[in-house]
Symmetry: C2
């Protein structure tokens, strides 16, 4: 069995391992899949797989890199712009799921190239910005959050799709924790 | 926003869409990733990504197809063998994660080929077997469960990996539901 001893410490290289895979994971999950799986959500005020990919695209455009730039800049204004968690409902309009996936792949690749070129060192990882709610956060926490945010939405895509079969599994529903979240 | 109106009805073709993608999703998530992500679990009596892939391999060998055969057979003994949810701790011994992923890919491909060749019709989907705990279940429910079981473990792999950065995200922990499950 695996072990959880010695929780993992932040590591830029290992973070990029996850970040560079996410668009490929999303594509493996959703490319060519019937709309019944990808367009439905979990009920009122929840997101479909399509909505989630739109949200990931928006994050690449306006959130992660912009916040990193604020932290690393020489400006004294270190305040982050609040992240619009509903922007995708406007931004994705008229786009197919495959277009959104392609956009996510392209943007993520560009962003990771930029990130690598910055050759961030351990001192820079401790530089800080001001989060609209939490106050001071550092670059290391922002980058770790980017990774966990990806994994969170991969799990969410799996859950939204699973929920479409909630009644079809019959009595097995009680053995499947994903259907009860 | 997506809609959840009219819950999805079981569809064999659409079920296979998910089943055939799972090994590729798992590979996209885990291939070439550092052991720190894949060998650690969420704490005592929980599974690492490595353990989860071993569990998926075991399911291909002993669970889903075997139960389908019991349901479709002419035998009057319709009882399923209980599924050993800990078999992977013995079976995976000595195998690398990549070996397990390859094994999963091969077994799933064979099983889906067998499934397709059976050309299951709507009458057969209602044939039943006896689950060791639930009693009567039908083939449609078994196959829907196979799909949801895949998605459940994809979400679990994402969660186990995310948990490795639980302290590294700092105050963002409260915005990331995956870290609080």
């Amino acid at each position: 069995m695996g072990s959880n001893k010695a929780a993992m410490k932040f590591d830029l290289h290992k973070s990029i391992e996850i970040l560079e895979r996410t668009p490929l994971v999303v594509e493996a999950m959703l490319k060519g899949v019937s709309e019944e799986w990808t367009a439905k959500n979990e009920g009122p005020d929840t997101w479909s797989a399509y909505d989630i990919v739109g949200h990931l695209v928006h994050g690449e455009k306006t959130d992660w890199m912009a916040r990193m730039e604020i932290i690393l800049s020489d400006s004294t204004n270190k305040k982050f712009t609040p992240f619009d968690r509903f922007a995708q409902f406007k931004d994705s309009r008229g786009k197919s799921l495959q277009q959104l996936i392609d956009e996510f792949k392209t943007l993520r690749k560009k962003n990771l190239l930029k990130l690598r070129l910055k050759k961030i060192d351990s001192t820079e990882l401790l530089k800080r910005g001001i989060h609209p709610e939490f106050g001071k956060v550092n670059l290391k926490q922002l980058l770790a959050t980017w990774v966990v945010h990806d994994l969170n939405h991969i799990a969410q895509i799996a859950r939204v799709m699973a929920k479409q079969y909630k009644t079809e599994v019959g009595p097995w529903v009680e053995y499947l924790p994903i259907l009860n979240r």
